[in-house]
């Protein structure tokens, strides 16, 4: 029983100190360079010309309007896509119907298509020269270069987020729980609210957070359909680009800091909600230890 053998566990693969430190080092350096540094730069540049410029930029009617546009778009697009995602995931995982595989592929399309393509496609459908263009014009309905177009484009781009988070989880969970609930006499709605939803809530929340982040940050598709009209159809990302091209770097960074702040806020909200969920489970686990020895 030599002392060293007694103390040391046999090394696992890749457990050598040098190897471990190198890996951790690479991750930390890359993380700092790729993720942390740009965020810091946004903060620094935003305040480079002092508080006054920062506040003035944010107080500018165009900026305020852009923030409003972004928030309104998110408030419409996120709930609609959440409902769509739940419905799609539910139907794909709990039912068998013809065209199920096709639906799966269709849901994936926005992930693989460049947002610019989506924007151009909307232009062809709803634009003046497009399929519904003349009809919409005749009834004086404005879709392109207005809020509806922006919301539609954002919804297209973010359609898969909630569904993609839910489908693998709900597939893994199977149909047993729902079948059990219905056999006990629960209605479809009751089954969904009391059984399905509580078991997918964290995946759902994660999907909603991702969807929200993407709606707020979407640039490509929105820039095509919005027409970039300052103070009217500019969302925050478009506004940042305009400011940047106008050589108002401080203004651009100030607006960017708002966008970054919105993103950070979303993530904090997600983490906080997750903590609450995990905390609840842990508290229950400690005060009632499982009793496994009885059949």
């Amino acid at each position: 029983m030599s002392d060293t053998n007694h103390r040391r566990k046999p090394p696992r693969v890749g457990d050598a100190p040098l190897f471990r430190r190198t890996l951790i080092g690479i991750v930390l350096v890359l993380g700092a360079l790729l993720i942390l540094a740009p965020l810091v730069i946004i903060g620094v540049e935003a305040f480079s010309q002092g508080w006054q410029t920062y506040v003035a930029t944010l107080d500018h009617p165009d900026t305020r309007h852009a923030i409003m546009m972004t928030v309104v778009t998110a408030l419409i697009a996120v709930p609609v896509n959440t409902a769509f995602g739940i419905a799609a995931a539910w139907s794909i995982t709990k039912f068998d119907f013809p065209g199920k595989r096709l639906l799966l592929v269709v849901i994936e399309i926005p992930f693989s298509v460049s947002p610019i393509v989506a924007g151009v496609a909307y232009l062809f459908v709803y634009g003046l020269q497009g399929i519904f263009g003349p009809l919409l014009d005749a009834y004086d309905v404005k879709i392109l270069f207005a809020l509806p177009g922006i919301v539609l484009a954002s919804m297209f781009v973010t359609a898969p987020f909630v569904a993609r988070e839910l489908i693998p989880l709900m597939q893994a969970q199977g149909r047993d729980l729902e079948e059990a609930a219905t056999s006990l006499g629960a209605s479809g709605w009751r089954t969904f609210v009391a059984v399905t939803l509580p078991n997918v809530k964290w995946a759902l929340l994660y999907g909603v957070v991702l969807c929200n982040a993407r709606v707020m940050g979407e640039f490509g598709a929105v820039s095509i359909v919005s027409g970039n009209i300052r103070g009217q159809t500019n969302t925050l990302p478009l506004h940042i680009e305009l400011l940047y091209h106008d050589y108002q770097a401080a203004g651009a960074f100030a607006s960017a800091s708002i966008l970054a702040l919105l993103a950070v806020f979303t993530i904090i909200a997600k983490v906080a909600l997750e903590r609450r969920g995990a905390g609840r489970r842990k508290a229950l686990g400690t005060d009632a230890a499982p009793q496994g020895n009885r059949p």
């Binding site: 047993d176 729980l177 079948e179 629960a186 009793q291 009885r294």
Partner: protein, 340 residues
Amino acid sequence: MKIRLDNVIKTFDTFRAVHGVSLEIESGELVALLGPSGSGKTTILRMVAGLEYADGGHIYFGDQDATDIPVRDRGVGFVFQHYALFPHMTVAENIGFGMSVSKVKRSKAEIAARVAQLLKLVRLEGLGDRFPGQISGGQRQRVALARALAVDPKVLLLDEPFGALDANVRHDLRRWLREIHQELGITTIFVTHDQEEALDLADRVVILKEGRIVQQGTPQAVCRDPKDAFVLKFLGDANRLTGEVRGGRAMAGGAEVAAPGVADGPAEIFARPRDLDWSLQGPGVSATVTRVLDRPGERRVIASAASGEVLEFDVEPEREIAAGEAGFVTLRRAKVFALS
């Protein structure tokens, strides 16, 4: 409640899982659907529950045609193989779920009282506040049963109820389920691929193969008088010898056994390990012992016959027998089927 299946058919895409099954289950009976995987037993159970719709035929609950009644209104208690307990609800909430979603409104106190009563029935008093993840597999299965019983089902359906449990727990739960059935007298159908479980537990065993009923009867009837080689082999280990029947006697390599009612001609002879014995003198099937396995209650001898068949049989624990020994396998009794 009496259950009657009348020529029930189910097809999945192109695969016909159930071919025109007709079956009657008396009120208060405990019936096992026994068969290998792919025999359609679970599909039949799910059709009785209403979790699958029959493509043809009818299912009657008493005198009522239940074929098109949705599962929600059919009034069955279904126990799933993997329990399907709601993981986010406590044991008590799981058991009370059926009552709280019922169209018959019950007060919270009523539900709590019934839950307490059911917890007592399944011997889980004091575990009502646990979550399913905090109790053992056997306890989960009992919660699942209590949950199914809570809605006062007309019929109780169990899908491989003990399949996911280890042997000891399974044994105890079997006895216990039998007791509960005796106490409540509820018509019960359960599905299993374990012949021992079916024979242990059921009043009547229905043996299925490829979506058809092969044989049904009391455990005694199917064990003593299996209808064909499939049923015989499925119910337990059996040695197979080929031989010939002449004048009501079956002969195989020197061994001879009575075969009443079997037509003359080539036949297969099946004998359980306990129906064979070992002797150093003939007449019998001449064989050489290849291995001896010691078990708590007996010694299992594996011998290879001169004709090439491998025979397995049991001898008393005191019997001296060793690998390499040559002798004769004698037949005490056997089941003979004519080879067509």
